[in-house]
Amino acid sequence: MTTKEEHQDKVLKEVTEQEYKYGFQTNIEMDMFPKGLNEEIVRKISEIRNEPDWVLEFRLKAFHAWQKMEKPQWAHLQIPEIDFQDLIYYAKPKPKKKLNSLDDVDPEILEVYEKLGIPLEEQKALAGVAVDAVFDSVSVKTTFQKELKERGIIFCPISEAVRDYPGLVKEYLGSVVPYSDNYYAALNSAVFTDGSFVYIPKGVKSPMELSSYFRINSAGTGQFERTLIIVEEGGYVSYLEGCTAPQRDENQLHAAVVELIAKKDAEIKYSTVQNWYPGDKEGKGGIFNFVTKRGICKGNHSKISWTQVETGSAITWKYPSTILKGDNAIAEFYSVAVTNNYQQADTGTKMIHIGKNTKSTIISKGISAGYSQNSYRGLVDIKRSAVNSRNYSVCDSLLMGNKCGAHTFPYIDIENHTSVVEHEATTSNISEEQLFYLQQRGLDEESAINMIVNGYAKEVLNQLPMEFAVEAQKLLEISLEGSVG
């Protein structure tokens, strides 16, 4: 082995041996259901949350559909057998007292956010971001309600929305992701415990970025978030979702459903930084992230833009999709997916073109290191009615080391002869020339690689709101700095 290779190995080793920086856990009393899932549990979840009958009905329909469904096997993933009867389907922090102001929030919970670097106060004061803090299953604190309310914007936990705005929720819940959509969506529909609800009225542009911070806490509980965002004609919202979870040995299941509805001239920007616990460097533990995210550009000239930075989770199964139903609708998907150690990711998007002159763009950047497997899987479906539609897709993969894998599985179905669809993909490693060039300029190897990776992902990171861009860049560095292929 040459000294250079030795050095590379050393750097690689250092990086791969890096422990999860955000691994810590808080001890808060939890309300828990017994393990397992049956009709009674579903009824109990609904009951404890005082839900109206139609919600229970929705849950039960989903539960019965789920019982008959089979787990999807088509992804390029090796998923260990999950015993769905060995999970706890409801956990809620015990309210110690009624919360009127920020001071009333459980100090332990506040501390968690502080450790994560985003204390509520700071966010409230500095960033101007309203936070719907989701701690396990029930939202503990929602801020900025008042300011938003003045403009008619609704931003609240979905449990409140069910109670306060039943008409809206009833109309749209399950309208984009039907309860029978897939195995995990059905499971979520049956047992979802909380999540965010956003409603932007006609002509209103949200003055601030709405953000929900997700955490999984209690050992062995799955988290089933349900997010519903509705933007009326001419409205705009940018929604941020970020997650990080404490270190655990047992696998935890996360099966969320996100539904977006954009009416005429409306725009939704949905950004995610996903950093669930990925498991240790032997591949033990880690979160299973099986998420169904879908938006619909319902009205003409509407726009939905997904941006995601995926660095965490032991297994990621996630395809944020857009149905372009309105004419002249626009959809975008920007993704950076990083896998290291024994992580597996099968992620991508679906662009379903129905309306005329619809346009979609897919930019996907995969980075794999260690023993990980990273797949892009995407569908571009141009229906016969989608006259003059356009799609442009780029899927690049970067391999760091020779024990990992990078895969690309694009599906392109075209039924319209006036549309133009282009897809291209490349797979490569960090080139010696690039490294040499940067090192010649006096950068050490690590910084050089960092710079190359950041440059590689820039196209996507640029799409993130400021608050997220910094965190995302940090996450990239943590996950990969120094890795050399």
Binding site: W74, H76, R384, V387, S397, L399, M400, G401, N402, K403, C404, G405, A406, H407, T408, F409, P410, Y411, I412, D413, I414, E415, N416, H417, T418, S419, V420, V421, E422, H423, E424, A425, T426, T427, S428, N429, G485
Partner: protein, 447 residues
């Protein structure tokens, strides 16, 4: 599932009679394949690779399963000749090797003839290779083929033999609607070279459900060039599945033209086992009416420092459907692999549809791999430009389509084939090929 039941009961009842002409090692494979087929059945829409290909109209039809040699052996005409090209000619009719004798050993040691006859006369040779590549296939049609084939072509090219050109006419010519299974085995020994020019042909009036499965071994430094022209009738389905194993410094080149047929499906599986291999796979599919043309391509790089390139282009008119699934697999130790893949399509109407799936699966880091897929229409600006020069709209369109197809035609390495191919493509784009009742290459040269 009439066809499936039909096949299973036919084999179960007539096993002994069907397999009696084959030596034990073939029968063993046939038995295993039959069991697999019984388990899996015919491909269905739920199978990942068949989601875009509906076999409904075929599997509910009655096809005569037990086919015998029904033609007169001496009644053979070499109809399909390429002008100015000397070739050794072979005819397969309904899967049976047709010739003066079933098996010939040429002066230079080349063995050519019926696979069934070879398996009895040279069992050692056949046993080494037979079903080695096909048995792992998950496509049930391959198991059906193994279980039910009655004959096919065997070719053995000994070491250092070059300049052997074979012209193969494969005709589906049943008197009733029939199930036809052809099995071929091609072995190209070290440093040998062979060109195969193949025409798939059919009569005009019967529906055929045909599988044409080939196992091909390209040894060290050997070269195989394979040209294929497919032109069958509008009620038949032809599934051509080829399995290649290419050894060190070997070269494989295929160029398949799918010109006419209700359903044409070419599956090609290439295993690159060693370094410095060169694989080029080209294809052009031209479909109209309610035809469907599929290409399923799989290139596996088991070893590094090799090169592969896939290039497939299609023009789809009327209500035609197309399916392209291309996959490059680069295994862990296959460093320094260069692998490329491209699929381009033109849709001419709003009823035509294409599904394109260019896949990459890569486990080695020091590789250069890319894939691309485009789908579009005739370029209006270019059309305007051409029409400005006084060319009418139809001709201007044809000119553009012809230019689009040109890239695949230009990839032909055998210069004598270029002109007939150009002619064929022109005629096809003009809609004239339907009337061709002779072998397709004959139609090409007719005025």
């Amino acid at each position: 599932m009439k066809l499936q039941d039909n096949i299973i009961s036919h084999i179960s009842q007539n096993k002994e009679q069907l397999w009696q002409e084959f030596p034990d090692f073939v029968v063993t494979e046939k038995e295993k394949a039959f069991q697999k087929f019984q388990q899996k059945g015919l491909p269905a829409l739920k199978d990942e690779k068949w989601r875009k290909t509906n076999l409904k109209e075929f599997i509910n039809r009655y096809y005569h399963p037990g086919f015998n040699k029904i033609f007169d052996k001496d009644d053979l005409v070499d109809t399909c000749l390429v002008p100015d090209l000397e070739t050794y000619n072979v005819n397969l009719i309904n899967g049976f090797f047709a010739g003066n004798s079933d098996l010939k050993v040429l002066e230079n040691g080349i063995i050519i003839g019926s696979l069934q006859a070879t398996s009895k006369q040279h069992p050692g040779l056949v046993k080494n290779y037979f079903n080695r590549l096909v048995k792992k296939s998950v496509n049930p049609l391959n198991q059906l083929n193994t279980a039910l084939f009655a004959d096919g072509l065997f070719i053995y090219i000994p070491e250092n033999i070059k300049n052997f050109r074979l012209q193969l006419t494969h005709k589906l010519d049943a008197k009733v609607d029939a199930l036809i299974n052809v099995r071929n085995l091609i072995i190209v020994e070290e440093n040998a070279e062979i060109d195969i020019i193949q025409c798939d042909d059919s009569n005009m009036y019967r529906s055929h459900f045909a599988t044409f499965v080939s196992e091909v071994f390209v040894k060290k430094k050997a070269i195989l060039n394979w040209y294929k022209y497919q032109n069958i009738n509008n009620i038949s389905a032809l599934f051509s599945n080829s399995f290649y194993q290419v050894e060190k410094e070997g070269q494989l080149y295929t160029n398949f033209f799918e010109l006419n047929g209700k359903l044409l499906r070419n599956e090609q599986f290439t295993d690159i086992t060693d370094s410095d291999v060169k694989v080029d796979l080209y294809g052009l599919y031209l479909s109209d009416k309610i035809q469907q043309m599929d290409n399923v391509i799989f290139v596996s790089h088991s070893s590094g420092s090799s090169y592969s390139n896939q290039k497939f282009k299609g023009i789809l008119d009327d209500s035609a459907k197309g399916f392209f699934n291309g996959q490059i697999l680069v295994k862990k130790n296959a460093q320094k692999t260069n692998a490329y893949q491209k699929n381009d399509n033109i849709l001419l109407t709003d009823k035509a549809r294409i599904s394109s799936q260019p896949f990459l699966e890569i486990y080695a880091d020091d590789v250069s791999c890319s894939h691309g897929s485009t789908t579009g229409q005739i370029d209006e600006e270019a059309l305007f430009y051409i029409r400005q020069r006084g060319i009418n709209k139809r001709d201007a369109q044809l000119l553009q389509l012809y230019a689009f197809a040109g890239e695949i035609i230009d990839a032909i390495r055998l210069k004598e084939l270029i002109d007939p191919t150009k002619d064929l493509v022109k005629k096809r784009l003009n809609g004239e090929l339907d009337n061709c009742e002779d072998c397709i290459l004959q139609c090409a040269v007719k005025p």
